[in-house]
């Protein structure tokens, strides 16, 4: 069987001898392929060393990458449970909490009791001592300020009763909750329970071995509990910091200062349609719209204005560029203007505009006009005059001469020759290329905005630099993607109508 399909060695050699060029060229090609592959590999290895990629990736803070990514579509609510030495507690929330100024979420259950305390001046001062704050604790300074005021108010010995939290239960999800009572923190996650004793000062003692989701760097120090996507918590001697993560964009329409905050959509709608005026000066509809536009967290109006600036930059820049490139390209095309000097001069001018690059033009015009869309328009205009001029003149050089000759032969003026002999051939190409660059500039306008030329780029960049507004970044990216896809499809539709089906 094998013998019939596979020729003998002798036969193979005979065939090889008959067609040497086939085998030879194939081995050559193989060698070349191997060389190219080796060259690429070598280059990648070199770049790995050149940019010290391995080192940088190893030193990167990948833990924070996950939480930054999660911030795109989630938000955290951060109750802080302060534990006093006697086991009583006080619960506070972060400043600008997404739950508003007076949060009382149903996933935090508090059992309160009234205690009678004897407060002396030294004790109050002790309480006001700023505690060691964790790296994630933004509340610490404010808590300290509050304590100091309390200390000033209570300068003498007095006995009074006050309401404190005796037991706090925070529920993350069905299998995860943290219970704090009598200086003992009980954390349950995935069927395991960890009991931690805290002393109300700075010592944290776990009872029993730590489960996988809990970490403690040194005995007695804070314990970090990570519950995956649902959040995490940090147990310190005098404080339990809860980080409960929720899916979605918090307060997307109304911020916490708005009278419509926290109301279900149906109630908001009925308020707008038939409710009594919240602000006597204006209707509820205009109040709601105003609250949405000036939402402190999402800044809708500002984002939309900046986005419009970006769109305008691309539109006006490309339009002007094609308007200026249009007459110039006739000078650059050697078959239209048979003057070598003019051709070369205009072509080199186009090359100059292109090679200086949009980025340098953007910096230049930002200095000239000040930051804003005018700088962006000018940068796009100047660069694309070069690019479109080059493309247009190349299109002109490739036209069919017969139509021109036909028009010329009936005695038309030079202008009429261009109008009826040349323009009908190139106009669809010109328009199509201008449309293409319009679409492409909508994309690049974002990035030149980031260097100061106006538009959403700078806003995006600023939101990213804070490292805490990733949800705003996500919002702007979503808007940009929508705009780009929208213009993409408009431009594609126009181009395929102009050029016939083959354009796309």
């Amino acid at each position: 069987m094998t013998a019939s399909t596979k020729p003998s060695t002798l036969e193979m050699e005979a065939i090889a001898a008959r067609h040497p060029h086939l085998l030879q060229s194939s081995s050559e090609t193989r060698l070349r392929t191997a060389l190219i592959a080796f060259g690429v590999l070598f280059y990648m290895a070199f770049s790995w060393w050149f940019f010290s990629i391995g080192h940088v990736l190893a030193n990167a803070n990948w833990g924070i990458a996950g939480s930054y990514l999660a911030d795109w579509v989630t938000y955290e609510v951060r109750p802080e449970i302060e534990i006093a030495a006697d086991g009583t507690m006080n619960v506070s929330y972060q400043r600008n909490s997404p739950l508003g100024s007076n949060p009382n979420p149903d996933w935090v259950t508090l059992e309160k009791k009234t205690v009678t305390r004897t407060i002396e001046a030294p004790a109050a001062a002790e309480a006001a001592k700023p505690k060691a704050s964790s790296s994630f604790n933004f509340m610490a300074p404010n808590a300290a300020v509050g304590g100091a005021q309390a200390a000033q108010a209570q300068n003498r010995v007095e006995t009074r009763s006050e309401e404190v939290v005796a037991r706090a239960l925070v529920t993350y999800d069905r299998s995860t909750h943290i219970e704090v009572a009598d200086s003992v923190v009980k954390a349950t996650h995935g069927g395991e329970t960890l009991t931690i004793a805290v002393d109300g000062a700075d010592r944290v003692t776990p009872q029993g071995p730590l489960p996988r989701w809990a970490t403690q760097k040194r005995p007695g120090e804070k314990i970090t509990l990570s519950f995956g996507v649902t959040g995490w918590a940090e147990v310190e001697g005098d404080e339990v910091s809860i980080r409960n993560r929720f899916f979605g964009w918090a307060n997307f329409l109304f911020d916490t200062n708005s009278p419509f905050f926290g109301k279900p959509y149906g109630e908001v709608a009925s308020l707008i349609v038939s409710g009594e005026r919240i602000d006597p000066a204006r209707s509820n509809l205009s109040l709601a719209w105003n609250n949405i536009l000036y939402n402190a967290e999402w800044q809708h109006l500002d984002v939309w204005t900046k986005l419009l600036q970006t769109i305008v930059m691309a539109f006006v820049g490309t339009l002007f560029a094609s308007l200026i490139a249009f007459p110039l390209c006739f000078l650059a095309a050697r078959n239209i203007t048979p003057n070598l000097f003019a051709n070369q001069f205009v072509k080199r001018f186009f090359d100059f505009l292109r090679s200086v690059d949009m980025f340098i033009w953007a910096l230049f015009f930002t200095r000239a006009f000040g930051p804003g869309p005018l700088a962006g328009i000018s940068a796009i205009f100047v660069t694309d005059t070069g690019t479109l001029g080059k493309l247009y003149s190349e299109a002109l050089e490739n036209i069919d001469d017969k139509q021109r000759e036909g028009v010329k032969s009936v005695g038309a003026t030079p202008l009429a020759v261009q109008r009826f002999g040349v323009l009908p051939q190139v106009l669809p190409v010109f328009a199509s290329q201008a449309l293409y660059f319009w679409e492409s500039n909508t994309r690049s306008a974002t990035i030149i905005g980031a260097v100061g030329a106006g538009g959403i780029g700078l806003k995006l960049w600023e939101a990213m630099r804070t490292n805490s507004d990733w949800e705003n970044v996500a919002y702007m990216v979503l808007l940009i993607l929508m705009v780009v896809f929208f213009f993409d499809s408009i431009s594609n539709a126009c181009r395929s109508r102009l050029m016939g089906r083959k354009a796309h």
Binding site: D357, G370, P371, K390, I447, V451, L460, R465, V484, F485
Partner: protein, 320 residues
């Protein structure tokens, strides 16, 4: 009246035809006029909006357009050369403005690379590396997105959507995200440029593949080869010149992109340029601008020449 004159000369159906033609023509003119008017209106309102939201107003700033150029004039022309080649300046007063040798890279004890050449090299290398990286990922993806090779519309659709999103995703966000995780340096720029390149090259590649001649593939199918063999021996040899040409075109674009990404925190020459413009170091700025201009020009010309040799006069200008 014209119609009455026409009706006398033409038959009844001829007059109808004439009238229809006139109406059609008038309507076309009206549409053209309306379109142009709409365009002009959009343009004017856009300009008004742009001018209103700009920090400086156009007509206020126009006379001062070239003030900035005046600020850029160094003390003497040699200063630019000194800045570019890291030569000690006679004006050195201890500030950064005239301290050129500060950033030089010593290859050996005495042999050094001037700072700007080093950074320019870094930027070009970022561009090459990211283009190679993007092409390596875009190459396998493009065959999955081509209609003639991937009959399954689901896989094709997913791959195409992926490429579209990756292409439209703002580069500055990718750079900013990696900047937040990694330390300052070229890697955020590499990530941003190469991720964008995957989408851009993937799209160009699959359009080439869709225009490929399917006869070799058919032959290979007839002798029973599998999908990978059909792609590798039937399609790849005929699309490779075009792929290389697009690769070079993308390289040109990426040199610019990596410069600009550098300016927003990705290292390389872009960052230096932004800093030196901001700090008003004239000689340094001009040296960098000249270096950048020369490099971009050289890369463009070499790549255009190579592409012309590879694929002849086929127009690839539309691709970006």
């Amino acid at each position: 009246m014209a119609t009455s004159v026409l009706s006398r000369q033409l038959s009844e159906s001829g007059a109808l035809l004439e009238r229809h033609w006139q109406e059609l023509n008038a309507r076309r003119r009206l549409y053209t006029f309306l379109g142009l008017a709409l365009l002009a209106l959009t343009l004017c309102s856009s300009l008004w909006f742009a001018n209103g939201s700009n920090a400086g107003k156009f007509f206020d700033r126009l006379p001062h357009l070239f003030d900035f150029v005046g600020d850029l004039m160094p003390r003497d022309a040699m200063e630019i050369v000194r800045a570019m080649f890291d030569l000690p300046s006679p004006y050195d007063d201890g500030s950064f403005k005239y301290n050129y040798p500060d950033g030089r890279l010593y290859l050996t004890d005495s042999l050094y690379l001037p700072e700007y050449f080093h950074k320019m090299l870094e930027t070009v290398n970022i561009a090459i590396f990211s283009t190679v990286l993007g092409a390596l990922f875009g190459f396998p993806l493009c065959f999955l997105a081509a209609r003639n090779l991937m009959p399954n519309p689901w896989i094709r659709g997913i791959v195409r959507r992926f490429m579209e999103i990756v292409r439209a995703f703002p580069e500055v966000v990718i750079a900013g995200f990696f900047l937040a995780i990694l330390s300052l340096g070229p890697i955020p720029a590499i990530a941003a440029v190469s991720i964008h390149t995957i989408g851009a090259l993937g799209k160009l590649f699959f359009e080439v593949v869709e225009n490929a001649d399917m006869k070799p593939e058919e032959g290979l199918r007839a002798v029973g080869s599998n999908w990978i063999e059909r792609v590798w021996f039937g399609i790849v040899p005929q699309v490779l010149p075009n792929f290389t040409s697009y690769f070079l075109l993308r390289l040109e674009i990426n040199v610019r992109a990596s410069t600009i990404i550098g300016a927003v925190g990705g290292g390389g020459i872009g960052e230096l340029l932004r800093l030196s413009i901001g700090q008003g170091h004239e000689a340094k700025t001009l040296a960098i601008v000249m270096l950048l201009f020369t490099t971009i020009f050289a890369v463009d010309q070499v790549s255009a020449w190579l592409r012309r040799r590879l694929v002849g006069d086929q127009a690839f200008q539309l691709a970006q």
